[in-house]
Structure formats: C-alpha cells, structure tokens
Symmetry: C2
Subunit: 385 residues, 2 copies
DNA sequence: TTGTAGGCGTTATCAA
DNA sequence: TTGATAACGCCTACAA
C-alpha cells in the first residue's frame, strides 16, 4: 500500500510533484514546501528541488491544487456582451485588479438573456470560482437563480445594475444624477421642448436615467411631455427607431440614454435631414475617447467604467476573504463632458442660454471640457484613472 | 481501509458524488454513470440518483473531473487589450464558437508586453487549458516562450498576427490586400501625394499593411515618398503625432493603418485646422458600426473580426481533437467600405477621379457602401455574419 | 527540517 | 447493470 506511490513513468503526461521529488531525492512535502514557500527548507534540499523543477520543466497543476485547497483563486464575471463597447473597460478594470490580487477571471456573455445567465452561473459554480461579478440581465432573479446563489456561499457583487429582491453588494454609477446633469445642462441652454430616449425601464439604470432626467425638467420648471419620450433598449436599432418617431416632432433638444442608441439616433437624423446641433441639441450618456474626434462631437455624461470594474472586484475580494456585514451599494460619480452636440456654443452665440439659472451641483457646465485626452490608445481610456 | 469512504458530514462543504451515492443508496459509479450518461443504468436507480441530486442540489465539481479526465474543456485566449475596440468582437467570436462546442474560455490581456504574455502562458498551462488562442505581442517569441510552448503539446493558434520563427496555425486577415485596396482607392480618386501612417513594423500586419499600400502606389505609378510615411504603434497618441508631422506637408490624402490612430490623426487635423475630406482624403483600416453616424464618415477597410475569432477557435478545436498535419494559415478577406472621408463624392463632383484606371480585384469602389447596417446593438456587429 | 499517508471529488478499471 | 477501489496531482496533518 505504501509502494503505490512509485508513480508513473512520467512520459505519459506532464511531470508531477512526484517526479520532481524523485529526481531531487526528496519527499513530495519538500517539493511542495519550496514551491509554496510554506515551510522552511534547508538550502541544500531547496537547491536540489529547484534544479529538478528546471530540468523537468515542472509546472504545478492548478486544478489539483484548487481541488486540495478548496479555492480556485478565480472569479467569474458575467456581462451581457463584451462586444458592446460599454463593457470592455469594465472587464479590464476587473481583470487588472483581480490579477493584482493574484486572481484570474473567467468571462461570460449572457446576451442579456436569463437562460444563458443561469447556465453560466451553474458553470461558474461547477468550476468552483471563489466569487462572481454580475451585470444582471433585465429580467428579475429567477427562482432557479435564487436557489443557485443561496445554497452556496459564493459571494456575488452586481455591477452597473441593481436587482430588486436580490440583496447583495453592488457597484453602480450614479445614473440618476448623471441624467439630471444631462437634462439640466440642456435646460440651462434654454431648450424648452426636450425629448428623451430612455433605456429599458425594467433595468434599474434605465429607470434611474429617466427619473434623473424628469427631475431636471421639473427643477427647471419645464413641462414633461410624455409624447416626447420613447423607451429604447440600449441597442442601436431602438435608437434609430426612436429618432424616426421623435425627430418629426421637432424637439429642440434630446437626451439619449446611452451611446449605442445615440448612434442609431444620429443615423435617423441624417435620414430625416436634421442636423445636430443646428436643428436639435443632444446630450448622450456614456463617453468614449473617440467622441471628441468626429462631428458632431458628443456632449456626454462620462461614466467611470473602469472604476466600476475595479471597485466591484475590490468588494468581491473582500467578501471572498471573509468580510461580513450587510450588503453595500457603492455609487460612482459620472461627469458631464461638454462638447458641441448640445449646441453649447451655438446657444451662447445666439444668447439663448440662461446662465442665470442656477447651476445644480458643483459642476460648471459653462466650462467646456474640450481638451484632448491623453490616451495611450492600446490601453485606451484607462489613463483617466 | 474500505470504510474510509464513509465521508464527511457534508456540512463542511458542497455535496459530493459520495453524498449523492449515499442518499440514493447506490455506488459512486452509478451516480457518475447517470451524470455522464456513460453507462446504462436501470430506471430505478437512475430515478433515485436524480432525486438525490435534486434534493442535495448537487453540482459536479469540474476541477475534480478535469483532474481525473486530464482535460479541462477550456481554452485560453490572450489578446493585447480587451479595452482596445478591436478585440472584443474577436473574443466574442471565440466565446460563441467555443461555447457552442462545449468549451469555455479564459481571457487574458498581455498589454502587448512580452513579460505579461509569458506570465499568462504559464498560468494557462498550469490551469491545464486544452488549447491557446494567441495574439502575439510585437516582440518575437522568447526562448522561454519557445520552451513553454514546445515541451507541452498544448496546441496554439495565432490570431491576426503571425510570428516569424513560430510555426503554428494562424488565422489572419488579408491586410496586404486590404491596404492595397485602400491605397488603390485613393489613387483612383486621383490623389497623387498620398501619405501613410503605418502600424508598428515589427508586427506582421503592420508590415503587411505598409507593403500593400506601397504596392498600390506602384500599381498606379505613383511615387512613394518616404517623407510622407510615418510609423505609428496602433495607438491613439501615435496617430495624433503622425498627424502633427504629416499634415503640414499637405498630403492630398492619407492612409491610416488602424482606427485608434485615425482617431488621433483627426484630432491633429482639427488642431491644425485642416478638414477632411475637404483638405485631405483619408482611408482608415478596420471598421466599426458607429463610423457611419459621425462626420467625416470614415471610408475604411472592414476586417472580419468576429470571423477571425470563429475560425481560430475552429482550428484550435480540431487540433485539440487530435488533428495532425502541417500548420496552416487561414486568411480572411477584408472589404472596402466607401463613405465620405476619402473624398469620394467631392472628387467625383470635381471630376478629379480617374475611373479609367482599372479597378484591381473584383471590388468596384465606385459603388459606395453607404446603407445603414442593421445591427442589433447589443450584439453589435455580429449581425454581419 | 523532512517524510508518510490520507483527503480533495471525479473518472475508470476490473470484478462481481 | 452495479460496486469497489485505484488513479488524477496536490496539500497537509501527524510523525519522525
């Protein structure tokens, strides 16, 4: 029974800790000890082990290690779609800070579909990830998901979207105030008939962005005309259709709740033959480095995407390390970036803006943020950090 | 020795196959058999096992499974930077087809740095991925990497960039012909003094794009003026600097070898006060769905990014399944997308274009591809497939 | 300081 | 068809 560990001829597969031990004429314990620096090992033996490792080109099997130690040093991350330009930066934030802490990440795309989300949740759990970062689909937590997430103690933190009935940590951007700023900016520029292309109202930040906008209208004593508000789904196509229905009503300005929809909206405007900002002002939500390079240069609410990833990872890692306490929601502050699509300079020139209306918040929208952002390109926006 | 498997109280951690076996009063073999459908099991036992699984909310431990089966059904993918808009779609292509085949993917960012690349290669190997998809950094394969990749039989397939001295499968886009088309298009429009902002020349596709461009000049009997060519590194900043040095020389047109650099280039043009396409024509490399929505609407060479991911995964999966044979290089065809930055309509109007110059290839550049692309937004460009 | 041997949760072989 | 039981490769008491 003791000789059973004479072990395989090592030609069969990759070298194991036993092969190293044999070659160095030590026990597996010693090998393990030097690899993990978990115990003091005499220099002599250590040397022998190290050279054996080199000679064999030994590489520890992380599967076995994880199995034995019961944690994988891996976190799972589920986003709707990595090819939606909104998510790469979040993911990058996650990976950077995870790697920094010695964790690696497993990426999944849910396509915003409950079914895929469930499936991936199962997979991640089966792979025994230590924690999960999740941008929930628009659907509420299903019973299955609830069971999945409850009967295991794998910590989950939500990103960008909260989920009613799912009381867990979350890191989001302050979309309410962001949208408020967007609406307020438009109002201060003297626009009175302002339209809205909102995100899906069954998503927390879709609601928040609409409510913030409405609040701004109210704060500036502007009527809120439901006929000027159309609900989109954050996708290009819905922005396009929104433009087709909204633009003919001749709004003076419009707030579009994300970049993809803005993209579609502009396309519609072009087809209809309306120009921005000449024929209508526009503020978009979420910023990208290339937005300052093409026309109309978009005025936006910049969301700290990378930071969302970083913060979410930070919280998750703490939970993994055993932090207890009630779930927390961390809210990151977005920022108004004034360029030209809002018609800023136009309105100023025409003296239509109303600087007398009090600026809400500490932001002075009359200081255009037009300077070139130094990005290193490959690492795109991260230099903002 | 036989009773040793009475096993833990199951409160300690997640239920194992033993817990299921015990509860169903069967052996672990039976449980394993029903889970994997690997053997015939009588309905009676199967039922018992299935209900036990439900009741315990048992979830197989993939770590243990992988350890025993010696494969993980996981592939690693290393790209320079997921937050560079070029890569998300490739990654998406990979994930989709991998998942389709029952594989999951592990994403890593090398930041185009040899060091991180090596580090991640080690990690992936330690995690025992079944194969690796790699977009090599600009540096050549290091001795370490060579050893890493050789002494293990984990198949590797290169994406987008080949690597001299590293003879393995690869899936790339035909950048030579893409760049040729770009240059030829400009030449046919009657431009004579054409500048180039190339990618890094130590990257295979950086070279290819330059050479294709030069070939086009030659084909159209245009002189190639080295002073009009500047080498960038694919990043925004380098495009910006290139613009600053190139534009004052008043080129009639310019070919910029990727999107990020184009972005910087446009910024420079704006600062200098030159307008596109009025003051200079421009063709960019690599297309994005939003390019048709802002001005100047970029004329580009569209790269089938998603397909690169799909094809690469396909090859890799075959290798994993044991396909032998010499390494192959699959080359995907890019496509000229004519919009307005090249000055197409301007030149036509002014009668400066030279339609008499033979069109090279089957592409007719005088058919502007301006129609709205139907994208579903969240899944962005993938609808092109 | 070093070694021995059992356990982590599966699969797989060989009997029964 | 089922059941024991030995791998898989690593960690870690417990001993020495």
């Amino acid at each position: 029974m003791s000789a059973k560990r004479v072990r395989r001829a090592s030609k069969t597969s990759l070298p194991s800790i036993y092969d190293v031990a044999e070659r160095a004429s030590v026990s597996v314990f010693t090998v393990s000890a030097v690899i993990n620096k978990s115990h003091q090992v005499s220099v002599r033996l250590r040397r022998r082990v190290e050279t054996a490792i080199k000679e064999l080109d030994y590489r520890p099997n992380l599967l076995a290690r994880s199995l034995a130690k019961r944690h994988t040093h891996t976190i799972g991350i589920i986003v709707p779609d990595i090819s939606n330009p909104f998510f790469p930066l979040i993911v990058r934030g996650v990976e950077d800070s995870a790697q920094n802490a010695g964790y690696s990440t497993f990426l999944c795309n849910s396509d915003d579909r409950q079914e895929k989300e469930e499936q991936y949740l199962e997979l991640l759990l089966s792979k025994r990830v230590d924690g999960i970062l999740l941008t929930k689909t628009h659907e509420p937590l299903s019973p299955v998901q609830r069971r999945i997430l409850s009967d295991t103690k794998v910590p989950v933190v939500l990103m960008m979207r909260t989920c009613r009935g799912f009381n867990t940590d979350a890191v989001v951007t302050d979309d309410f105030h962001g949208a408020f700023e967007a609406g307020a900016h438009l109002a201060r520029l003297g626009y009175q008939k302002i339209g809205l292309v909102s995100g899906p109202l069954d998503v927390s930040n879709g609601r928040a962005r609409k409510q913030g906008f409405l609040k701004a209208l109210k704060a500036h004593h502007l009527p809120s005309d439901e006929s000027l508000m159309v609900e989109g789904d954050y996708r290009v196509e819905s922005g396009y259709r929104a433009g087709l229905t909204l633009l003919p009503k001749r709004p003076q300005a419009v707030f579009v709740a994300n970049y993809l929809m803005t993209t579609g909206f502009m396309k519609a405007a072009e087809e209809i033959g309306m120009r921005c900002p000449d024929d209508f002002g526009l503020v978009s939500f979420d910023d990208y480095p290339w937005l300052g390079c093409f026309h109309p240069r978009l005025t936006t609410i910049d969301l700290p995407k990378y930071e969302v990833g970083v913060e979410a990872t930070c919280v998750l890692l703490q939970r993994i390390k055993g932090m207890t306490g009630r779930p927390t929601v961390r809210t990151l502050t977005p920022q108004l970036v004034v360029r030209e699509s809002c018609g800023f300079s136009l309105r100023i020139k025409e003296n239509r803006a109303k600087p007398e209306v009090a600026t809400v918040g500490d932001q002075n929208p009359f200081v255009p943020v037009l300077q070139f952002r130094e990005n290193d390109g490959n690492n795109l926006e991260r230099t903002k950090i």
